[in-house]
Amino acid sequence: MPVSAAETFLQKRLCDSLAPQELEIVDESHRHIGHAGANASGVGSHFRVRIVAGAFEGLSRVQRHRLVYRALRDEAGGALGCGIHALELIALSPGEESSEA
């Protein structure tokens, strides 16, 4: 399956702003076809993202997620950019991966 514009956008924005040690992006849009916010193509709207980055060190979960969301805002500032509707997010600092459930 070709990589969607949204996935390229996620990859670029997250690498640029958080310099992650690990970054996994899985497009799960096909599981949400027909839901509000999904598009008809089944790609590019819903993602599962796992990031390991030093930037998360010492931050609460809410602060970590806000960092990620901030990196992904569109020009207007409110919503996520590039047609992205939802992210399932795992944000870890280096060293926390080993304790992952």
Binding site: G37, V62, G78, A79, A86
Partner: protein
């Protein structure tokens, strides 16, 4: 966001100790993520006030600015923003959510 919307959101958040902004209602959720959080709260036996953002575009857009959080659902406990679906689920799985509710003296 105008002042009126800001006040309406603050008012919703103050209505009960636990407030969930979601798509749809606990009985008829319109989104899998909203549904998960509503079910989890029900599972814990928490009474909560839910706000269906699909019924009101001002609140739907306003809450994202209010919380500095771009997605729905959003959970508030005693006026404090706790997180969205992933965070609430993680907190539930680790027992932190139950502990947090107990510390805030919310009966479950």
């Amino acid at each position: 966001m105008n002042t009126q919307t800001h006040e309406r959101i603050a008012n919703e958040i103050s209505k009960q100790d636990v407030v969930l902004f979601m798509k749809g209602t606990p009985q008829a959720p319109q989104c899998g993520f909203s549904s998960q959080v509503a079910q989890l709260l029900a599972h814990l036996g928490v009474n909560f006030h839910s706000v269906n953002v699909l019924e009101d575009d001002d609140i739907r857009n306003g809450i994202k600015q209010y919380s500095d959080w771009p997605t729905i659902p959003q959970l508030y406990i005693k006026g404090e923003f706790v997180g969205g679906c992933d965070i609430v689920r993680e907190m539930f799985q680790s027992g932190e959510l139950q502990q947090h509710l107990a510390e805030k003296k919310i009966v479950t």
